[in-house]
Structures are given as C-alpha cells and as structure tokens.
C-alpha cells in the first residue's frame, strides 16, 4: 500500500465522532460574514445597511486577482457593514445580517434529486466556480477558479482528491463521503473535465475502510475515478506528501503542484463544486465536526458560514465543560487554538475541537539530547533541532540556508520531541523573520 517517502508520525486517531450523522445547525438571530474567508485580498461589500438579502445572494464581490466572491448564508436585513474580530482576535471587514426566515435565491436548485449530466465547457466550469465563491476546503482556502485556470505552458496530468483526513479527531470528510459519495463523484468528474485529465485519484487512508468501499462502489459508475487506499501516516493529507504518496513525484522547494503536473483538491471541495455547478448553490455552508474526549456527545454539523462558534457550542453541548483548556479550530496537529469564540465561522472551517486542561498544558521543556527524533519525523527532511538553536540565537539567514522556508508546519517535530522543546513555535518565528529578510532584500 502506498504512502509518502520520508518522515511522518502516528498520533492517536481519536476519531470518536465518526458514527455521528451530519445534522443541520439551526439558524441563529444574527450572522456575521467576514469579507476575507479565503487566501488573498478581502472581497468588497456590495450591500449596505438596511438592504434585504436572500440566501445565496452576492454580498461581497471579488475585485482583486487573488480573491473569492462571498454570498449571504441567510435571508434577512443587513444590520451593519463594519469590522469583526476573527477567532484569533484579528479585526476583519464584515457584514452583519439579522436573520429573517429562510428565503433562497430562485436560481438555486433545492430539489433533492441528484443531477448527473454536466454540459459545460471547461472555461464555463471555471467561471462558475468563480461566480459561486468556491475555495479549497482543506485548510488553505485557496480560490478554486485560480487553481483550475492552468497557467500558460503548464499541463495538468493528475487530479488528486484529498480524502485522507489524517488529522486526529476530524470526521467531516469521512461523513461527507459516506453520505454524499455520488455527488462527490460527479464533482470529481466536473473537475476532471475542467482540467482535461484522463484520471482522478482519490487518496483515502486505510483507517477508513467504509469510505474506501463506498467510494469504490460509487466510482464504478463513473469514468476515470480511481480510489487509492493509502497506508496510514500523518501528515499524508499535506499536499506535497499526498502527491508523493500517489504519484511518487516530489514538488521541489518553492514550486507548486502544477509544476509536477498535479492538481490537488480536498474531497469536501468536490462536494461544493457539485452543488455550485449542478445546483447553482454558492459556497455558504461547511461540514463541521464538534468533538472532544470529554464532551457529552459528538457531532457533525452542516453549518451556514457566519454562525458564531459560541452558537455552535451552545447547540452541541450547552456550555463548555468546566475543565476545558483549549478550543481549537481544526485538528490537534495543525489547528489553531481560538481566543474569541464569539467570532463567526468562515469557509473551510472544519471543526471545533475541545481539549481538556491537562492535555492543553505543555510539559516543561528540558535539554535537547540530540536524539534526532525531530529529524526522523520531519516529512520534508529538515533539521528542526538546528532551526531551534539558530532561531534562538538570531542566526535567521543561516536557518534560511538550511531550507527553513520548506517547513510545512505539520508539527511532527514538536510532537516527537522527548525534551518537549517548542520546535514549531521557533520555526514559525524563524520563517516569519526569514520572509521579512527576503522581502527587504527585494526592495
């Protein structure tokens, strides 16, 4: 069975919310829609205070190149156009909408039937993705229309669907595959057509035999969809590692997947692509896992964007357990600990992970014993222990020479370190300083 070539770890899986079917999250009184829910520049608000909006109506227009449209996830009245603090305390431009009823745009096909035929040309598909504000839902929220506009001189040979979900705890992709396998396969076919590639490879780790079976069975009805079971190892879902696992190719330092003929899409994104292209539905919903070892119940929700984390927590468990130490957006390996739970969810939000105090507190750091475990765990073949001491001593450019910018921040080094050294904290600091140095050199 395939997997990536070097490094990697095996954290405890903790996929405790796997059996929880997707539930619909009820609408709150107000939602807040951030204008940058994607990688790049914020969208420009096209509604004003007092305007009536419907579900799916364009409220933020993409004007910059690296940008994506934002649509209203609810129907109601625009309360204000202002700023709002995101889960990490950063103020972002936002539209506040008071919810009234649930009235959808007429153009959106809300019938439950699955629509299989797609007669659009590749260019029309890409335009549709742009119009519907589709972004990558694997974490980076990269605008889809840019990814599927292959630059001049480059050629896509592989479409790779990332259904790995290697982060512990997360089960949203797992549930989507079980409940919407056919829609996903249609979405994949649409992307295959947009790129003009013969085959799409769906990478699923072997800890999800039910998904592998379901997707294999569904894929037989479609042309050119190959389900590829992968040997479990974190971070298999990282783009470069997944490409390596499936094709054996390696994306060189500073290059993009398309430079080795690959385009990678998250499996959740393919479902959004289906809804956008076949049903005219913009990206206004996420599948979100609410999980934690100490929670009374585990959930997978379909959540309109703009609903606050506080509302989700209230719906799922009433109140946070008294022993809560951390609330994380994303998985335990690469997710970010939130400081502002009143903040709204955005496109690509995949989970609310509640971790107990004792697990959230780091053990005391001891001396490095040069065991080399960080190096063995690094899937990029880097030397985390070296970065740690170089960054501590301000030798940033030297760290740059040792390829510090190649770090994908998967966290394998810190996870493995017996001395509990905050290796990734230091590497992040070093990367930021290194980028500043490079930017200064350019000027």
């Amino acid at each position: 069975m395939k997997t990536f070539a070097m490094g990697g770890i095996h954290p405890e899986e903790n996929k405790i919310s796997t059996s929880a079917a997707i539930e619909q999250m009820p609408l709150p009184k107000q939602v807040v829609v951030l204008m940058n829910q994607h990688l790049g520049a914020p969208a420009t608000p096209v509604v004003a205070k007092g305007d009536k909006v419907k579900v799916g109506q364009l409220i933020g227009k993409a004007e910059a190149f690296m940008c994506a449209n934002v649509h209203s996830p609810v129907s109601g009245t625009v309360n204000k156009v202002d700023v709002c603090k995101d889960p990490f305390g950063m103020a972002k431009p936002a539209i506040y909408i008071d919810v009234e009823g649930d009235e959808w745009e007429e153009s959106i096909d809300r019938r439950p039937e699955i629509k299989r035929e797609c007669n659009l040309e590749p260019k029309q598909i890409v335009d549709k993705l742009k119009e519907m504000g589709i972004v990558g839902l694997g974490g980076a929220t990269f605008p889809a229309h840019i990814k599927y506009s292959i630059p001049e001189g480059k050629k896509a040979e592989y479409l790779i669907i990332n259904a790995v979900e290697c982060e512990p705890y997360l089960t949203s992709d797992h549930r989507v595959m079980l409940e919407h396998a056919e829609e996903i396969c249609i979405g994949i076919s649409i992307l295959r057509k947009a790129l003009g590639v013969p085959n799409a490879y769906v990478g699923i780790e072997n800890n999800k035999p039910d998904c592998i079976a379901k997707m294999r069975e569904t894929a037989t009805k479609f042309e050119g969809i190959i389900v590829e079971p992968l040997k479990m190892k974190y971070p298999q879902g990282a783009e470069k590692q997944l490409i390596n696992a499936i094709t054996g190719r390696k994306v060189p330092s500073g290059k993009l997947p398309i430079d080795v003929g690959c385009v990678v899409s998250n499996v959740g994104t393919t479902f959004a692509v289906y809804e956008a292209v076949q049903k005219n539905k913009p990206l206004i919903e996420n599948i979100l896992t609410v999980t934690g070892k100490h929670l009374p119940s585990q959930h997978n929700y379909q959540v309109r964007i703009g609903i606050s984390y506080a509302d989700i927590i209230k719906q799922a468990m009433g109140e946070l357990p008294a022993t809560t130490g951390k609330v994380i957006s994303g998985g335990p390996m690469m997710g970010k600990a939130m400081c502002n739970l009143d903040a709204p969810t955005v496109k690509g939000a995949s989970s609310v992970l509640v971790i107990d105090e004792d697990e959230a507190t780091r053990a005391r750091e001891t001396a490095c014993i040069r065991c080399g475990k960080c190096m063995q765990a690094c899937p990029m073949g880097l030397e985390p222990y070296l970065f740690s001491s170089l960054v501590r001593n301000g030798r940033i450019e030297e760290a740059g020479e040792h390829n510090i910018l190649d770090c994908i921040e998967c966290g394998c080094c810190f996870f493995s370190c017996p001395a509990n050294k905050p290796l990734l904290d230091e590497i992040r600091l070093g990367k930021n300083k290194m980028r500043a140095i490079l930017a200064a050199k350019k000027k």
Partner: protein
C-alpha cells in the same frame, strides 16, 4: 470566565520524554548487571551501587551549589552514567572507593562542566573510565577471576583471593593458546570489567533498546562489523594473533558498541553519519588493540569519534524532500 490556552499547534504530544528514554536505558543494562553480580559476587553489586549513588550525588551538588539550577537528577541520566561507569571497571575492593573519583570526573568534568545533559561532547562514563585507567593503571587492570559456576561467588567478599587476566591481556602476554572457549565468552565466564563479560546479556539489553527505538542498528552493526572484518584481514595476513570472533566477543566491544557509542548526545544524528561513526570506532579499536600499548582500545576509540561527531553532523545532512 476561565481563560483559554492559546499556545501554538500541535496541541497533542507523543508520550515520549527524556526521562522515559533514560530509565529504559537503565532497564536495558539490568541483565548485564545481573550477570556481573552472578560472576563477581557482592563486590560487583557494591561497585554499581556506589558508582550510581556518587554520580547522582555529584550532579545534585553541582546543580544546587555551583550552577544554581533546578535539579535534574530524576531524569535518570546520572544513573545511566553511574551504571555504565561501574560496568567499565573491574569488581575489586579498591574499586569501591576509586569509582567515586571516576564518578566525580565523569559527572563533574565529563558532563556538568559543559552545561549538563545534552551539551557534553564526550560520553561522560568513558571520560571517567579513561581518567581512572590513566591515573590508576594497576588497579584498573587487576581482574578478579569469575566464579567457577553461576552464583558460586554470591558471598561476602573477604579478599580478592584470585585475580585473573582478561582474554585480551592473555593474548598480549601469552598468545592465543590460553584463551577461554567461545561459549564461555558468550555467557561471560572470563575475566574482565563488570559489564564486558557476557555478550548474551548485553545483546538482550540492546535488542530491547532497538525495539524501543532508543538506539538504531547503524552504530552497533558498523562498529562490530568493522572490527570483525578488519581483525579478520589482520589475522589472515598474520599481523595479529586474534581471530575475528574472539575479537568481537572479548573486551569492551559489545558493551561499547551497544551502549556507549550509541549515546544519543555524543553520536551523529543521521543514519549515514552513524554508519561512519561506527566504522571509525571499529577501526580505531582494532588499531589500538593491535599496535597500541594498551590491550583494549574501545574507550579511546569512542572518545576519539565523539570528538569528530559535530564534524560528521555537518557533513551528513538528512536527505531533503525534493533534492
């Protein structure tokens, strides 16, 4: 409301810790220690206890009164140094106090003077051992004869009634005829330091460490393999009177290759570097044994290779993802 913790990712950690690693190394040394006690009696146990106690005490004193830092004696690293030091000396009565001097040098100079665990360039136990060998050459090369049968010597020692030579000493003095049998060398029925007599006991500990992924096979295999092949060549062309099997089963090669050369702090970090390190250790050991004035060269070989470890680390980088 209670404040949330917002430290950076990853938010989970493997259950590995330095403490666990060190105590597992101690556990891996237990079979060797048991065999030593079985052959050399209570003396062996006393030497080990005194050595460990002295190492822990010196580390505690230095951390408390000189470095003024929180004590780290619980992490088990001083115990490892103490045990290894004890396994590297003969189980004689003089050692009961000489080993304290060795412990002071091992911990005081070999380890703490560089800043403590993780910062020492040389294996502390070997620093202590070599200091003792140079300062007290007679006491360090006077070997008690092992008991005729297992456990026959488990009795209160009165005097060192008999002293025996190590196989390497015999070779240097008398030639190959007087050597112990291979089976005796495997189970440890021969003269020598506490920890260098039983190959089987050492291998049991080494296999445990391999399974626990505390050591990798690269250094021991390169070390022992090089020593075997090199001594075979020398034996074949008549430059040495020791056959290769005797070479690797006697003296400190097994203990050195499995427990001392594999010390994480003082050995290279990449597999390639580790192979070179092991090769260097094996080569130097045989050179010293064959042409040096000492019958044994493992300690010197490992210390010499320790000194080039930073250089090896510079030369042997891990393979980058896409280069």
């Amino acid at each position: 409301m209670k404040l949330l913790n917002i430290s950076g990712s990853p938010h989970v950690h493997s259950d590995e810790s330095t403490k666990k690693i060190m105590w597992r190394v101690n556990l891996a040394l237990v079979p060797t220690l048991i065999v030593a006690i079985a052959y050399f009696g209570l003396n062996a146990l006393l030497v080990a206890l005194i050595s460990v106690a002295a190492c822990v005490l010196f580390q505690w004193l230095i951390e408390k009164f000189i470095m003024k830092v929180p004590s780290t004696i619980c992490d088990g690293s001083a115990v490892v140094t103490g045990l290894l030091l004890a396994l590297n000396v003969p189980a004689t009565r003089e050692m009961l106090w000489l080993v304290i001097i060795g412990a002071l040098v091992a911990i005081g100079i070999g380890k703490m003077s560089f800043g403590g665990l993780g910062k020492n360039p040389f294996n502390p136990a070997l620093v202590g051992r070599v200091f003792m060998l140079i300062s007290f050459p007679v006491q360090m090369t006077t070997w008690p004869k092992p008991g005729e049968n297992l456990f026959s010597m488990v009795s209160v020692p009165t005097t060192d009634a008999t002293t025996g030579a190590t196989p390497l000493g015999i070779l240097k003095e008398n030639g190959a005829e007087a050597l112990p049998q291979v089976w005796d060398m495997l189970i440890g029925h021969m003269g020598g330091s506490l920890g260098e007599v039983s190959t089987i006991a050492i291998l049991i500990g080494a296999i445990y460490l391999l399974c626990r992924r505390i050591i990798s096979w690269h250094i021991p295999v390169a070390f022992i393999g090089t020593a075997f092949v090199f001594s075979w060549i020398l034996y074949g062309c008549g430059s040495s009177n020791v056959d290769p099997l005797t070479t690797i089963l006697t003296g400190g090669i097994m203990l050195g290759a499995c427990f001392m050369a594999t010390d994480m702090v003082t050995s290279p970090m990449t597999k390639g570097g580790q192979l070179l390190f092991g090769f260097g250790c094996g080569l130097l050991t045989i050179i010293i044994r064959t042409w040096g004035s000492y019958p044994e060269g493992v300690s010197f070989a490992i210390l010499l290779m320790n000194s080039v470890t930073p250089l090896i680390n510079k030369g042997f980088k891990p393979k980058r993802f896409a280069c």
